[in-house]
């Protein structure tokens, strides 16, 4: 069996003395959407930060496209093809939309105008406001800028930490549509979501995390159909 595109195996670690992750494994195939759900404090965001290298792992490894990247810094992982959208503070508020995208492409030395046009095609609402300061946009548009910024490095794996936190249901649907479009271009998506039900709808694979360890792993549809998961984590 071929190795999955991203394979974060048996991760253990935390910020202080106590571990937050207790043997968490996440894999994503090329072009797949993987969603991490779970109760508050289950270590969902921590797991994603561990994949991105913002947390020192005590045990376990992270492999991207067959290469072990466990020891790399987040910046180095960006160069390896990871894109990360933090949950908050994910834009440069006093810079224009266009400058935000430019900063996203900071590590690229080649011409990135094509990528920028692709981002604008993906997010037409944002394209109209390219000369406006990102801080003046609405919540949903800011998230689009944030995703667009991360796309500027042409990542092969895009990680989103609760992209729909604090946006209205309509905007959420819209964002999820865009994310599906991104995945169709062959980019793998790893996403942490509070809105578990809607997120699992679009998930190729879903991880239910409890206390820093995998509880259920299955396709999104299968998890949604599982009565046990529904009762415990999806509120009926």
């Amino acid at each position: 069996m071929a190795e999955p595109y991203l394979s974060a195996a048996d991760m253990r670690g935390g910020y202080g003395k106590a571990d937050i992750l207790n043997g968490c494994t996440l894999t994503v195939e090329r072009g797949q959407i993987a969603v991490i759900v779970g109760p508050n404090g289950a270590g969902k965001s921590t797991a994603m930060k561990a994949v991105f290298g913002m947390l020192n792992l005590r045990e376990g490894s992270v492999r991207l496209a067959g290469e072990d990247i466990t020891q790399l810094t987040p910046q180095e992982r960006v160069r390896k093809g990871m894109g990360f959208v933090p949950q908050t503070h994910n834009i440069f508020p006093t810079m224009t939309v266009e400058e935000n995208l430019e900063m996203g492409a900071f590590i690229r030395d080649d011409d990135f105008r094509d990528t920028m046009e692709q981002v604008y095609t993906l997010f037409p609402a944002v394209a109209e406001k390219r000369k406006q300061n990102a801080g003046e946009l609405s919540g949903g548009q800011r998230q689009q800028v944030a995703v667009g910024r991360a796309l500027m490095t042409r990542p092969s794996l895009l990680m989103l930490d609760e992209p729909t936190a604090g946006v209205s249901p309509i905007v959420m649907d819209e964002l999820f549509d865009r994310i599906i479009e991104v995945a169709r271009t062959g980019i793998s998506i790893l996403m942490v979501e509070q809105n578990a039900r809607q997120a699992l709808e679009i998930a190729d694979i879903g991880y239910v995390l409890v206390q820093g360890a995998n509880r259920y792993t299955d396709t999104g549809q299968a998890l949604l159909a599982d009565p046990e998961v529904r009762r415990t984590f999806l509120g009926g």
């Binding site: 987040p74 910046q75 960006v78 160069r79 990360f84 933090p86 503070h89 994910n90 834009i91 440069f92 508020p93 006093t94 810079m95 400058e99 430019e102 900063m103 996203g104 900071f106 590590i107 910024r149």
Partner: protein
């Protein structure tokens, strides 16, 4: 005719001096605000960096004068300025390496960095005294006036005179050029945008692959260049005295806070707001009132010049009370 005389008097005693002083403050405040935006602390050593840089410029000016080099009608100090900037930059970068970098890596509280900057202030102050002494020094040479009072009276036939000193005109021109270059750099160049990005959102800038140490170095270089320029222009306009450069710290801080710490455009506006308030409040308006037909015994001076720093302070307090992030929305942390 009296209205014209009043206007000329206002121009001569308020607008021109305040504009020159405001430009000097703006350059100083730009440095403070950039350092705040990138390094996130109020640099108490900024006034003494200005003093040190100016002292070097004066030394080089003397050297050039001894060699018989001059710029004709312009002050020789202008020629010495790049050398002063270069030398000060070296010192400032060395200080960052030796002092601030340690706390930056440790992510110390901003107030610790403020404290360290006080230590640096002492050293810079001592160095300045060491190289040039504590006496008042005048170092502007070349032509003194662009427009002199006599010329102006002769041209216009007004009883009120107007003078524009070379140093004042120079201050305005140099400041305009410096601001133009700085804003062009910040808004157009990759490195400038990286600086703004780092100031906006440090973590995201790191994620985007912006090298923080490069940004910091660049910030110090620009701040040093602005500081030496501001200090030299201030010295040309008034005179050079070490202690005055410590005292100018307050109006500079006031200017950068009024404009919103971390906001360069705000710093420029803040510099002029502080300068115009200071001059307007300490200027005796009796003469102008007389031209307009109000004869009084009093000087019509709101505050004596000894209290000019109180003006900065009051502006500061008012801003802190009503709009702590400044008029142009600086950092709110």
């Amino acid at each position: 005719m009296d209205i014209l005389n009043a206007l000329v008097a206002i121009l001569n005693f308020v607008v021109i001096p305040a504009a020159a002083y405001g430009a000097q403050l703006a350059l100083g405040a730009l440095g403070v605000t950039l350092i705040y935006g990138i390094l996130r602390f109020s640099n108490f050593a900024h006034g003494d960096t200005m003093a040190f840089g100016t002292a070097l410029v004066i030394l080089v000016t003397w050297g050039l004068q001894a060699l018989g080099i001059s710029l004709g009608p312009l002050p020789t100090a202008l020629l010495a300025l790049p050398i002063g900037i270069a030398l000060t930059s070296v010192l400032v970068l060395g200080v960052d390496r030796a002092v601030y970098r340690f706390y930056r890596r440790k992510r110390s509280a901003p107030i610790i960095l403020v404290m360290a900057s006080v230590g640096v202030m002492f050293i810079m102050n001592g160095l300045t005294r060491l190289v040039i002494g504590v006496d008042e020094i005048r170092f502007d040479d070349g032509a003194r006036f662009l427009i002199s009072v006599q010329q102006f009276r002769a041209w216009t036939g007004l009883s009120e005179g107007l003078s524009l000193r070379v140093s004042q005109a120079l201050t305005l021109v140099v400041t305009a050029l410096a601001c133009w270059a700085l804003f062009r750099f910040l808004n157009r160049s990759r490195a400038g945008k990286a600086m703004r990005a780092y100031s906006d959102n440090e973590d995201l800038a790191l994620l985007s692959g912006i090298d923080p140490e490069r940004v910091v170095r660049l910030t110090w270089l620009i701040a040093a260049a602005l500081a030496v320029t501001a200090g030299t222009l201030y010295g040309l306009d008034k005179s050079f005295k070490v202690f005055n450069y410590f005292q100018i710290l307050l109006p500079i801080f006031a200017a950068s806070i009024v404009g919103g710490l971390g906001n360069p455009l705000g710093a420029v506006a803040g510099g002029f707001i502080v300068a115009f308030s200071e001059v307007a409040v300490t200027y005796p308006w009796r003469k102008i009132a007389a031209y307009l037909g109000f004869e009084t015994d009093g000087l019509l001076q709101l505050l004596s010049t000894e209290y000019k720093f109180a003006v900065s302070f009051v502006i500061l307090i008012v801003v802190l009370l009503f709009r702590p992030t400044g008029l142009f929305r600086g950092k709110s942390v």
